[in-house]
Amino acid sequence: MPKMTMVQALNMALRQEMEKDDRVIVLGEDVGVDGGVFRVTDGLIDRFGPDRVVDTPLAESAIVGMSIGMAVYGLRPVCEIQFSGFSYLNFHQIECHASRLRHRSQGRWTVPMVLRTPYGGGVRALEHHSESREVFYAHMPGLKMVIPSGPRNARALLVSAIRDPDPVIFFEPKAVYRAFREDVPEEEETLPIGKSLLAREGRHVTLITYGAMVRPVLEAADRLSQTDGIEPEVIDLLTLAPLDDTLLVESAKKTGRVVIVHEAPCSYGPGAELVARLVEKAFYFLEAPVRRVTGFDLIMPLFAREKAYLPNAERIVRAVKETLEAAA
């Protein structure tokens, strides 16, 4: 199996789906000739031509609005919003139409589109280029919201998203884009949307996370295991909406202690929903307060201070230890 970065794996997913299905159209700013500012769509225009890999004018609402029309027609648009920090410009198109057209037309029309966009910090980017606001989409009825954590699951999930009959918001952790390589099989591989993943088995504490935070969480888990004999269980959500809480609930019942990690600001962030689900479904098994290790409730600082803003292995280790020290 070839070793690939997430960028390459996503590129492969797009290429293979485009080969199989001429309904799949890639569109967005700089996705064609330039191959995307992160090169996720690199080479696609050479292979499939400008009719299927469409460079658009600079207008996010139009990109999404046009994708909706294409999807209603029966195509499978995969549009790219260059950075999630600019996806607010198409917010109404998602809220008012992409997520609703199936319902508004009572099943007559569907919107099988994918909105791909890179999110999150850690790559020394410009202002507005490092935000994590996944809650905006996760909270919206009628949407699916996927966040892969590594090359292999990114590829499998993107294939599933493209084939999904409903609109899927696909957040790509840009800090992972080129951070490491994984074996990605050339053969078709999909992952079910709406299933979380047991990324590490353990017994003493449950760590729940997704996206770019999976790596520091696993690093923290290894350190805890090696130096403290603590064996954390790690859950990688993969899908934020619809949220699959079975794995978290099971794990929390087993360990009794939970730490949640995400980049997004804490208040009203995705972690809050996880706490609420655990309280609803594993309340009597919780031995200590569920901890959230998150971005602060701040405007994401420019890159000189982003390391201090983002959760890291050290902060996670500390939170786990405090959670384990808390009286049962």
Partner: protein, 72 residues
């Protein structure tokens, strides 16, 4: 920093109890693992903890601290 073996005290599934019951148990010096559960789903209730506390307190003088509780 905890010793690695300290973790082993936490082996086994958590005892089912509300956080408030856990606090009560802690305050009364009761090890939840030693308490007979009467609540739904095998849950230890606050009353269970109070009864257990009485049982501990009446025959013996010295309350059992959680740290001294035997591992299950």
């Amino acid at each position: 920093v905890q010793e690695p073996e300290a973790r082993d005290k936490r082996e086994g599934l958590p005892v089912a109890a509300s956080p408030a019951t856990r606090r009560l148990a802690r305050e009364l010096g009761v090890d939840l693992r030693q308490v007979r559960a009467s609540g739904p789903g095998g849950r230890v209730t606050a009353d269970d903890v109070r009864q257990a506390a009485q049982a501990i307190h009446e025959p013996k003088e010295v309350p059992l601290k959680p740290a001294e509780a035997a591992p299950s």
